[in-house]
Amino acid sequence: MKKCIITVVGKDTVGIIAKVCTYLADNSINILDISQTIVQGYFNMMMITDMSATEKEFGTVFEELEAIGEEIGVTIRCQRAEIFEKMHRL
């Protein structure tokens, strides 16, 4: 499994999750978990995804998600999960 964490941060607006999820579905990226909070009016979402089925390169997915973020005015980052697991788990 190629676990990746997608984070979305920005002003809350209609259709953020829909847009990201559509992209993920179109590219065979499975969502394992979603959590979200609103901190000081800012929309904060994290998705844990599995990228083993997608045919696209990591780099391409990252860039395309970034572009979607720019389009809807939020910051979308996609990072491999190991950086968080290494930092926060023994």
Binding site: T37, I48, F62, Q79, E82, K86, M87, H88
Partner: protein
């Protein structure tokens, strides 16, 4: 499973607190390049570096992208050139041709510095080592990315005072040779005591002769992250403070370990060590001085600075060693002046002097680093400063170093501009009382009594 708060914390470290991996440094042994024909030697060196390091920069960029962590520098360290060039180089100019080859190779593979234009002369100098040292001013003036270092002492051998005297003159000559750029050449030259074989940080990186054919060493960073973390325990006791620093150092180092492992796997080159040093940059919020101020000092240099730094350095190591099985290099807190905005400010307002910086080097890695001094400072005075710093390293069984920049044509109160990561520095006063009779004595200072442990 990872939760949203942990993810947010990591990303905030990266985006707001300047968390990065400071350098992936690829060590390359040049032992098998040795040839008595200078042209052949240069060709061998160029071919070996450009073949082993050809994917270094692209691998670094791919890792940056996938994990979302900046890797600021990709660099190369090589076997000390005084050894590699010994058979072929008959003059200092011959050694300069190797410096140019290293520079060319660095440009080809896209690294911003290549270290190892070095000589290890802690006991005495061979003919070729002296030729290399004498070639340093020209080599640094005529190349862009080559870094040089000279190890002039160790706890086991004592201090080679002939080399210390020579290095004072060489620093002065290097400053002269690059005076049109605020004596920038001296920013690429480090004089060491107890130099480590596996240091990934420039300008002092070289690949020691005890190392393998190629190795990946990684230097982490993160002063901003430590500062942010200890802001949360303001006013609390030392136990809470130390605990916070340790935990933060652990997290930072784990990122370095991850990056080192990935780079090693992708390039099929063994992983060597993680260097735990907190390395500042001139960016606001990426400063060791700001950490010390957050601990409770009005300015770095105030009484208490040495104790605060000793504690910081120790906690960083304690947290870091838990996060990686192989820790090495310099591993501590760097206190360069020009590369740290808080240090620059402290010098500017008169809180921090050369003498206080020397005291601080007793408890931190690495030494008197990136300090601009008046261009008129005598070579023997520079040698005296080097000798003092080497003595601290020798007696305390630690690495110490000197990277001083006598800025030709400038004096106390003026500013030297180096640009980029090297930053800028106000010129600091130097004690002008003479030490030439001391420096001009021949020979070496014997090893200290506690070095006899056999």
């Amino acid at each position: 499973m990872i939760n949203i708060y942990e993810v947010t914390e990591t990303n905030q470290m990266i985006s707001q607190e300047n968390l990065d991996v400071r350098t992936i440094t690829l060590g390359i042994s040049l032992m098998d390049c040795i040839d008595s024909d200078l042209n052949k030697l240069n060709e061998n060196i160029y071919n070996k570096i450009t073949s082993i390091a050809k994917d270094l920069v692209s691998t670094g960029q791919a890792i940056e992208h996938e994990f979302g962590i900046p890797i600021v520098n990709k660099r190369i360290s090589v076997t000390p050139i005084s050894l590699i060039g010994a058979a072929a180089c008959k003059t200092s100019e011959d050694f300069v041709t190797i410096a140019k080859t290293l520079d060319r190779a660095a440009h080809t593979v896209g690294v911003n510095f290549i270290g190892g234009y070095s000589a290890l002369v802690s006991k005495a100098m061979t003919k070729s080592e002296e030729l290399l040292i004498r070639s340093i001013p020209q080599a640094l003036a005529e190349t862009e990315r080559v870094c040089s270092s000279v190890n002039v002492g160790s706890t086991k051998t004592g201090i080679n005072m002939d080399a210390v005297k020579l290095c004072g003159e060489i620093i002065k000559d290097t400053a002269e040779a690059t005076k049109d750029r605020d004596s920038l050449g001296c920013a690429k030259l480090v004089i060491f005591c107890n130099a480590p074989d596996d240091n990934p940080f420039m300008a002092g990186a070289f690949l020691g002769v005890t190392e393998g054919d190629a190795v990946i060493n990684v230097g982490v960073s993160g002063p901003g992250v430590v500062k942010h973390a200890i802001e949360q325990v303001r006013g609390q006791g030392f136990e809470e403070l130390c605990e916070t620093i340790k935990k933060t150092a652990f997290k930072i180092t784990r990122v370095g370990q991850l990056v080192a492992g990935e780079a090693s796997k992708r390039m099929n080159i063994p992983f060597g060590i993680i260097d735990l040093s907190l390395a500042p940059t001139p960016a606001i919020g990426d400063s060791i001085a700001e950490i010390l101020e957050e601990i409770g000092l009005e300015r770095v240099g105030a009484p208490g600075t040495t104790a605060a730094l000793a504690m910081l350095n120790d906690q960083v190591k304690k947290g870091g060693v838990m996060a990686s099985s192989y820790v090495g290099g310099l591993s501590g807190a760097f206190i360069p002046v020009s590369e740290d905005q808080g240090m620059i400010d402290a010098v500017t307002v008169g809180a921090l002097s050369l003498e206080k910086l020397e005291a601080m080097t007793c408890v931190c890695s690495v030494g008197l680093d990136m300090i601009a001094i008046p261009g008129k400072t005598k070579a023997t005075t520079i040698s005296g400063i080097i000798a003092d710093e080497m003595a601290i390293g020798m007696v305390n069984q630690k690495t110490t170093a000197v990277r001083l920049i006598p800025v030709i044509g400038k004096d106390v109160g003026e500013i030297a501009e180096f640009g980029g990561l090297l930053g800028y520095a106000p010129i600091i006063p130097v004690n002008e009382f003479d030490c030439s009779a001391f420096v001009n004595r021949k020979g070496r200072i014997p090893a200290p009594i506690h070095s006899f442990k056999n």
